[in-house]
Each structure stands twice: as C-alpha cells, then as structure tokens.
Symmetry: D2
Subunit: 292 residues, 4 copies
C-alpha cells in the first residue's frame, strides 16, 4: 500500500488555495526555505498571485515538478490531484486551517515535515482513483479522474431519479433515489458517509455504490472489488437536470439514456505521509469517530 524510498526531488511546485492572497508571506517563506536548499521552486497561479510574481499555468506546473506542496484544505488537494492527472508527482498536503482527511500536515509542522520528506523518510501512500466517463450515443462526452467520488444527482426541485447499475456487464440493482455516489475508499469518509455508506480504510482498493435517499426501503450501500467496471445508466429523469459531479468540483450534464462508467484508474494519487502514522487517527480526529 505504501513504500519508503530515497526521493531525489529537484523541482518543487507550490499550489495555494484560491482566494487567500493574505498568505503571500507563507508562500514567500516556503519558497526561500526551499531555494536555500537548492531546490527549484515553481508557483501555481494562486501562489504566484499571493507573492505578486508571474506563476506557471497549472498544467505546465504539473508537467515540470517532481513534488507538489499544496497549501490549503482537502478541496485544494482534490483540485491539484486532478491537475496532476496521470503524472506520478507525490503530493504533500498542508492544511491552513482545520485538519483535513488528505491535508494532514498543519502549518506549524510544515518545515519539520519537509525536512523529513526531502530526506526521503516519508511514505508515498497510493490512493486509488476512478476513471469516470459519460457516454452518449456511442461517444464519450465527459471524462474525469475522481479521488473521492462521482455523484449522479438532480439539480432541480424534484430530486427523484431512476438509475440502473451494472458491474462487469452484469445487472447489479436499480435505484429509485435522489442520486448515487460512486466512491473510492478515500471518498468513503466524505459524501458517501453522509449518505449512510461504510468507512473503508483509505489505501485499500474497492468501489462503493451508495444511494442518496433511496425511495425504497430495501436499498443498502454496496462494496465492489476495485477492478469492477461499473456502469450507471440514467433511466428516467422525471423533470429537471441530472448532473455528474466529480469530487464536488467539476462535472457535466447527464441526459436520459446516457450512462456513466467508472473503473479504477491506472494512475493512483501519491500522498506523502509520515512512516509511523496511524491511518485510523485522522478518521477519529476528523469525524469524532467512536467518540463518547
């Protein structure tokens, strides 16, 4: 699930949460700290804005770095993971506010942590992603990488939707629900949990199908093997628009008759985590899981 190795980083990217220009000082200090240690530092657009420099276009940035430091929360990290796409660039998430599921390092721990990371003492934890596609009339009209989840749901007043799920070409079940969440283990502590799904150890590989407010009493969340080829067909939309939303951030319209496919991507995200960290502790601290 994870392995520890010498990581000869040379070029390090810094990405900043949008709308935080007041964090220029943090970016500047981090940049100087890294340059003092002879690393090339490349800034994403928000980070560049915050220090009033000219940054790189986001996709150029992902192309040119071999380590990405993300200053922000889980949302920023999800966006950066999408930006990195199929490249194998490890991510270190530094949360600027409250502890994140993905951005586990606090601002106070940042430099101490970076010493460890640059010395190759951090693990690279592989997190599986889903390759999500929207199919219409034989063509692919949308394509996404999901680290948390792909949600098919309505946007209007009436939320009810008729969906049918297949796995590896075989009928699984029909959903008469507000929507359906196709989630990774990483996403199991996010929206899927709110909808009644189980916690799945991040790092484990599996696909979860969690219905949102099923209008039948007999639906339950389902856990499938990671390599299941899942297909969700939109049977009836009643009225209003149906959307696919990936990681709560991007997506597209889905029409009656379209189907959404989701399968494990060959390109996991690599998160940098301390070698001795208890993987359950983040869940306990974030969720107050099991607290009395």
């Amino acid at each position: 699930m994870s392995r520890c190795e010498t990581m000869p980083y040379r070029s390090i990217g810094i990405c900043l949460k949008p709308g935080q220009p007041q964090l220029g000082e943090v970016v500047r200090t981090l940049k100087v700290w890294l340059e003092d240690r002879d690393y090339d530092v490349l800034l994403g657009p928000q980070a560049a804005d915050a220090v009033e420099e000219t940054g790189l276009d986001r996709s150029d940035l992902a192309e040119q770095v071999d380590l990405m430091v993300v200053l922000g929360g889980d949302g920023t990290l999800l966006a950066v993971a999408r930006l990195i796409g199929h490249r194998r660039v490890p991510i270190l998430g530094v949360n600027l506010g409250t502890l994140g599921f993905l951005a586990e390092i606090s601002q106070e721990e940042m430099f101490e942590t970076l010493e460890e990371v640059l010395a190759g003492r951090f693990h690279r934890e592989q997190r599986m992603r889903l390759e999500v596609r929207v199919h219409r009339d034989g063509a692919v009209v949308g394509e996404y990488l999901a680290l948390n989840d792909a949600v098919i749901a309505k946007t209007g007043i009436s939320r009810l939707l008729d969906l049918e799920a297949r796995a590896d070409g075989v009928e699984v079940t029909a959903y008469h629900a507000d929507g359906l969440i196709v989630s990774t283990p990483t996403g199991s502590s996010a929206y899927s949990l709110s909808a009644g799904g189980p916690l799945v150890l991040p790092g484990f590989e599996a696909v979860l199908l969690t219905p949102i407010c099923p209008h039948t009493l007999t639906q339950r969340p389902l856990v499938l093997p990671a390599d299941s080829g899942v297909e969700i067909r939109v049977h009836q939309t009643h009225e209003g628009d149906v959307r696919l939303t990936v990681d709560g951030q991007v997506g597209c319209e889905v029409r009656e008759g379209d189907f959404v496919s989701a399968r494990r991507s060959e390109h996991p995200v690599e998160l940098l985590v301390p070698p001795d960290r208890n993987r359950f502790e983040v869940m306990r601290r974030k969720l107050r899981w099991g607290e009395r």
Copy 2:
C-alpha cells in the same frame, strides 16, 4: 382522529391529474353518475378540459363544493389539498394507477365507495398540516400549507448547507447537511423516510425534523410535539441557491439570514377513509414494510 357523521353533500367537485386528457370518459361517467343522483357537479380545469367543457377556476371550485373527488395519485391530492386551503372540504382520493398513501381508493372501487361516502358511512380522517412561512427582514415573503413536508435544500452542485433549528424559541441543534425536512406524520412515509426518518402513524400529530445527508456523524431524526413553533435559520449557503419546497411541488428561494417557520395549521385536511380500514395496511402495501 376521525369521526363518522351524516354528510349532506350537495355540490361535488371533480379534479383530475394534469396531462391525462384521455381520461375524459372516466370524468364524464362520474359526472353523469353524480348528476343522476341529484348532486351538483363542478369540474376543475383539467377535468373540464378532458370532457371539453368549460371548468371553474381552481379557487372558485374550492369555494363552491362541499366534497372533492380527486382522480389521480398522491401528487394530485397534495395539490388539491393546497387549493382547498383553509376550507373544510373533505377529499376522496381515487388513484388512477398504483395505490397511493393518500389516494387509497382504486378506480374499480370508485362507485361502490361513493355510495358509501354519500351515505355518510365513511370516516373523515383529520390530517394535520404545517403552516410554513419564509421570513426576510421582518416580512413574510412566502407562505404555504404543507400536508407532507417542507424541505430546505440547495439546488446547485454543492449541496452542503448550515442550518440552525429552534423550537418554541429555544435552540434545538445545528445542521451541517444537504438539507432539512420538516415533516408531518402524513409525510413520514415520503421523503423523510428516504432520508432515514421514522414512520409516524398518520392521524397522530407531531412534527419531524429529518436532516438530509448530515455531514456529521451525530445527527439523528427528531420528533417534536405538533404544537412546537419550529424555526429554521439559514446560516450559510456556501455557494448556490437554497430553496424551500413544499410537498415537492411549490416553494421559493431562501437567502442567507432568512428563517423558515413551521407550526401546526389550524386547518387540517379531511380525508375520507373506510370506517374499518387498517391504517397500517397502506404502509405495508406501499412500502413492502416488514416484508421478508
């Protein structure tokens, strides 16, 4: 909860589910059947269209009848109940397709049932309603009667909402959720059930607060006395529009800082039900409740 009395109906309204012009024959036959028995028959707009007559405006209709026969499903009955408003007009719901929670009588049983109803042998079951208001800057900007529920939720991609509930002026709890359902016992088998709420015997009086996909592990559905003055304040909308939706059919926008009040209306709906019917059987048949 119900009482049986001689009901001197004189003027009977017929309402038809919209978009069913092919049901002209049913409307015509029912009209003739009633007129043969010396009742005045008044048609709502859809029923009039179906028999190519000129119908009454809906609110005029409600004003002039003392019994309303609804041909359609639960949705049609919810709309007619709203139309009747504060008037005390009993409703007989005839479902044209599958059994409804509210429209319990099938088309086959219609005439036999009407004989009983007109002979005063049916019960009038009182179903409590909620008087729902949206308050903004000291003014009421929306006002509704809910027989099933009032739902506060987002319409956009990001569904997360911060709400605060008060009852009789006292803080109840805060919701960090996709939305909140304020439901009557009648509505307990509808959307609230999908969101994890309990079944409440229709005819009982209570108010349910059922959160939709709460993003905290510690939320649970709450049952309050029927006379609780519930207030829901919209604290933070994050992004996108928040809407109040009543009975899944009507509603309005709710803005940050608005609050929605809900309290038992003094004007229950009166449903006509057979004197000997088992009130749990409809739930069992509709929900497959308890089925193995």
Copy 3:
C-alpha cells in the same frame, strides 16, 4: 408538559446508588442541611447504610415522603421511579459522576438547586410511563412500569425472534429481528437510539417501536400515539430463552404464545427541572448530538 407551583414539602427521602458506602459524607451533610431547615428526612436502605443508620424499607420510604432526592445516575433514578410506583412524589436527580439524561443536577449544584426546589421555583416535568404486562393463557404473569423502555429479546446465542405487533387491536407489522424495543420519549435517547430509533422530545407523549437488528431490509422505527394499546406477540423463539427487560433492570421470561402489552400509564413520573432549562441541551451534551 410542566407546571410551576408552591410545593409544601415536609418529608424528604434520600436514595443512594447501591455500592457507594464512601458517599456517607454526602448523605450526612445533605441530611443535616435539610433537618436544619425543619424538614423530616427519611433514608433509603443504601443511604442509611452509608451513614450507618437504620433506614426504611424502600416501599415504606416511597409511602412517607413528598419529595425524593436521588443521589446516583440515571440507573438509580430509574429504579427509584419504579419504587415510587403510582404515587405522585416528585424526584430530584443528582448525578454523582457524569451528567445523566434524568439526573441532570451535579453534586456541586445540589444545595443551590435544593434552595430553588424548596422555594417552589422548579418545574415538575411530567414524563409518561408505560404500563407493561406479560400475558399467558389469559393471566397476567408479569407487570411493570417503564420510564425508558420495555425490551423483548433473546438471551442465548441465536438471537433471532419472530414477533408480531398490534396496536388498538389492529395488526401493525411482523418483526423477524433480534428483538423489539417499546420505548417512551424519555427512552428515545437510550437503547432505542442505539438501535436506530429517532430522538423524541422528552415531555412529549408517544410510543416508539424500534426493532433490534431486523433481519429484513424493510423494517423501520415506528412512532405511535401515546394512548395506543400496543401488543407484542412472541410467535417463534427458534431456540433459547426470550426475556422482557424493563428499563434495563427488571423483567421476566416470555414464552412462545405469550404476549406483552404496553400502554401509557396513568401515573407519569414527575422530574424536578429548572424553569429556564433548554430541554435540548441535555441531549446535546450527553450525546454530542449535532456536534462537528
């Protein structure tokens, strides 16, 4: 739900949690404090033991006092409520450790609270109870008053049970489950909540039927009016013993063919509560309800 009145208490009972002889000092101080104010003080057996006096028999005690101070937790208060039976003796619950749902007053607040109580400034909150009976071959073989709940469940390895519920003589549903909890609103935050039941505002009157681990996907908790005459018939016990347990403390065996009846007792418990207390706050503090 509650009312405030001048309460001419003369004789005050003190009950102590069993197995706490080290609390002699608390009992002694309280006794002296009350006697200094000219109240007669009567001690229950545990309280008497703790101060090495001779106490009254428990039922004599209940007969002779017009206010009962309970030093202990919710468990002790449940036992004292049972002891009081049909008498109208208000109870003040002082928790010796952590906050209770019923024993809301802390040891530090005890004397200050008693000043208020004795001055008649506390509310008497009525809490409905269930009169629970086990019927066998036409005879009543067990009879109890439940402030929290009556649980029908197995005691052996195999936990599965077939039950049938009726309300007011009408079939409600069948349960194929580990057991069934018949709960008051007071009990809704106890075992029923663990089994997935809703929170019901204590002070409201209703009866909850919450199945324990139903082996069918279609079961849901049910809320009935307080005056429903509930009957639970034990259809099949498979193997092992079935027991009725009241408030987690007392009970008896239930055999195949027996039925358990539960209806609102005419004798509620009266809890003394501060006039200005927020009834939801105890739930929030005890359950971390709604906490993020």
Copy 4:
C-alpha cells in the same frame, strides 16, 4: 475469483440437514444416481440415518471425499464448511426449502446441476474465511474457521460491552455497544446487514467490522483489507457473560482481558456455482434488495 476446470471427482460425500429423517428417499435416489455413474458415495451421519445405513464419522468423511453435496440450507452448508476445515473439497449446496445465499441450487435442479458439475462445467468460487482465535494469558483457548462471521456479544440481560479494535497492531476504534460482528463478504448479507453493515460482493476479499447497536452516535461500519490482522479486546463486560459465536453455530466464552484475533484463512471454501450466474441475483432474490 473463480475458475473452471476438469474436475476428476471419484468419491462424493452427501451431508444432510439434521432432523430431516423424512428425506431418506432423496438421499437414496441421489446415492443410486451417483453409483450408477460409477462414483463412490460416502454418507455423513444424518444422511446415513435417513437411509438407515451406517455412515462415516464427519471428519473421516471430509478426509475421504473430493466433492461434497450438501442437502439443506445455508446453516447446514456453514456447518459442512467447518467440517471440511483446511481440505480443498468443493461444496455443492442444494437447498431443500427456500433459496439460500450459499445453497443456491433447488432440489428440482439437483440432477441437472450434478450433470454439469461432474462434467466440470461449474465454477469453483473461492470464498474467503476468517481464522478466528480467542487468546487468554498468552494461550489460544478457542480456534475457529468462519465463513460468515464471528460475533462478540453478551448473553445476559444487560447487553452493553466495551471493546477495542486493533488492525495490524494499530488502534482502530473503541466500541461501546451490544457487540461487534467481524464479517467476511459472504457474511455481509447475514447478521452484519441486520446491524447496518454494507453489502459486499461475495467473492471479493475484505473484512467488515460492524458494531451491534452502538451506544455512541459516532460509530459506523468499517471495511478493512482482507489481510488485516484484526484484534478485538474485551475491556469491560459490565455484568453477564460474553461469548464469541462463529457462523451463528459454535463458539466459546470470552472473559474480560481476553482478545479475539481474526485474519484471512489460507483455506477458502470452494463453492460450486454455474458459470453464467449473476452474482447479484441471489442477493436480490433473497433480500428483495432494491425492490420497489
């Protein structure tokens, strides 16, 4: 997950559900049918009783056959799987009454199915099992193979238990609950589902921890990788006996301070299944999963 191969069966065992002596005719017919095709037929004790022959001791039987036909339901198949232990004997489950999750073949399909099986046209579906051990003072005092689940729970009136779970030596969470179910994917449609656990595709490999009636609002079912070394420590038993129950059939006492370990056995069970069967259909038919 499954593979198809020529299976040169020579010696076939027949096991019968206990307490079904009236099924002598089925056993006799099956025995003759197999002997006519030159297979050696060995009978388990119940099957032998039913035809008034002398059968083999159960463990001798498992030693000597290379295919086991089980006549009964899921319970009988669970018991036979335990009997087979570490041996690699494929099982064909024939249900004598209602469809089973494991005993999928009906009595009517038996001979037709056997033709296919003996021709090597059935799949051997591997179902992971858990090796479950009870540890006390450094010694193993109980050891079991679980195909469905291992349940740690109380047998007395008070059901509350304090447990602590660890995985691979690391603290997972604490449970304040009626008990804990450690389940395989095969067991996910059994007791774990009743307690709120997710469905996991049988044939997938994973371990589920599902608490029974957790007395904290923050517990959720957890899915772990199949190779997790799970340990459950019994911290406090309050009062009454704690038992480990494996597959609802066998088990032993667990004392305060004991711990129960569960890890994937190297010896899965091999179920014979038709090559073209939809693995979700059994779940749908048995559970009415997703039914409206």
